[in-house]
Amino acid sequence: MADKLQIALYWGAACGGCDVSVLDTNEFILDVAAVADIRLWPIAVDGKYKDLEAMEDGELDLAIFNGAVRNSENEHIAKLLRRKSKLMLAYGACAYMGGIPGLANLTTREKIFETAYLKNPSIEWGNGVVPQPESGINGKTIDLPRFYRRVYRLSSVVDVDYFLPGCPPQPDQVKGALLAVVKGELPPKGSVVGAFEHALCEDCPRTKNEKKIKQFYRPWQVACDPDTCLLEQGVLCAGVATRSGCGVRCPKSGIPCRGCYGPAAGVVDQGAKLASAIASIVDSKDPEEIEGILAGLPDFISFAYRYGVPASLLQRSYRQ
C-alpha cells in the first residue's frame, strides 16, 4: 500500500459533472485504481471525514477538488485536504474560477434564501423555515454549515498547486494530469494544466473574415453557416478570450463557446476582455445605433462572466 499513490477527490459547490468526467475516462479509472489508493471520494467510494482527519499531514500525494467554495463545510474540507496532501489540484471551472455557482455573487445571500425557501412557488408557504447554522432539538444542538455571503474560487481559500479548467474537463486532459502525477513530471506550481496558452479561435476550424455586426442573434434565432465564424454571423461566442484545450467541441458542433476553460493566458479579466472584443466588432459610428445594436445582448454579464464572477477583478456585486 505504501508505494501506491494516495489520492482524494472532493466536491464543493458543484453539480457532480466533474466527478462524472473523472469516470468518463472509462476503463482508465481501473488503471488509476491499480496504481493509486482512492482514500476519499464522496460520490463513488466509501470514506469519511474522520478518516481524512486521522491522516498524517502530507500523507496524500494528490487532492483533486472540484466545485466552488460556497459554505463553511467546503472551506473546512478544502483546508483539511490542503494540509493532508502534497499537491492540490483545482479541478474544473468551479474550483478554478467559481463557475456557474459563482453567478450567485451577482445577487445576495438574502435574495437566494428568499427565492429558495420563502417565495418559491413549489414549496409550502407560510412556515418561513430558513436554514440556520445552529438549531436546538430535544435539548440538543445541531449545526449546519454556514452559507457564506458569496462564492469563492478554491485559490481564494487555500494554496492551489495546479488548475485544470473545463466544465467539465475533457477526459483526455484528466488522464494527462493523472499520468503526470504518476510519472512525477510536474509543471511549475500555479500552472493551468490540461489546456493551452492561446485562445480558442486559433484552433477553431471555422473561416474567419473581418467582423462587422449590425445585429446580434440568440443561437436559436438563426441557422448558422457551419463553416464561418459564429461571431461574424452575429452569435455571441466567447472563443476570442477563452483558453483553448477542449478540442473546440462546442463551435465544431454549431454551438458558440461559453468560455468554460477560462481566460486565455495573459487575460486578467475574461468578461472585460469579452466586452472589449464584442463591442469592437459593432458596425456603427452613431451612439444611438450602437446602443440599439448592443441592446440585442440581454444579460451580457452572464455571458461575459458565466464561469468566472468570483475570479473576476470585481468578484461580486456591490449593490446595497
Partner: protein, 144 residues
C-alpha cells in the same frame, strides 16, 4: 475629515491630454482629484483598466478622448464609444453606481470644458461617497 474622492483619468494623448494641459497653462482652477494617466488613444483603454482601477481603490474613473471624427488614428475613439455601453452594463450588474465611470469627448482647445467636467464629476462622486469595492472585499475575508 471630509471625503475627497480619488478619480483615475485615462486621457488620450492627442486631444484630451492636450486639453488638460491647456487648462493648466491657462491657469484654470479645478478640483485636484483626478489622477491622469496618458494613453495614446481611447481605443487603448481596455475595460479591464477601468475594473482594475476600481478594484485597487479608485472612487471613480474618467475617460476622455477626441470628439467623434477627430481621432488622430481616424477610428480609435469609435472603439471606445462602442465599448462604453457594454462596460456600463457590466458595472451596473456589479452594483457600481453609474456616476462613478464617465466618458467625455474633450478636444485640445477645450481646457475650460475639461476643468468643468472634472469639477462636476468630482462633486458627483463626492456625493456618492467612497467606492464600496475595497471595504466589501475586506469584509468578505473577515466573514469567513
Amino acid at each position: 475629515m471630509s471625503f475627497e474622492p480619488k478619480i483615475v483619468g485615462f486621457l488620450c494623448n492627442w486631444c484630451s491630454y492636450t486639453g488638460a494641459d491647456l487648462a493648466g497653462t491657462s491657469r484654470i482652477h479645478y478640483a485636484p482629484n483626478v489622477r491622469i494617466i496618458r494613453v495614446m488613444c481611447t481605443a487603448r483603454i481596455d475595460p479591464t483598466f477601468v475594473l482594475k482601477a476600481l478594484t485597487d481603490g479608485a472612487d471613480g474613473v474618467l475617460i476622455c478622448g477626441c470628439h467623434p471624427g477627430d481621432c488622430h488614428y481616424s477610428e480609435g475613439n469609435y472603439k471606445m464609444m462602442r465599448r462604453y455601453p457594454l462596460l456600463k452594463s457590466i458595472l451596473a450588474e456589479f452594483g457600481i453606481e453609474p456616476a462613478r465611470v464617465r466618458l467625455e469627448w474633450v478636444s485640445a482647445s477645450e481646457g475650460q470644458r475639461f476643468a468643468d467636467i472634472v469639477n462636476d464629476m468630482t462633486q458627483r462622486v463626492r456625493e456618492l461617497g467612497p467606492s464600496p469595492v475595497r471595504t466589501a472585499l475586506v469584509q468578505d475575508m473577515a466573514e469567513r
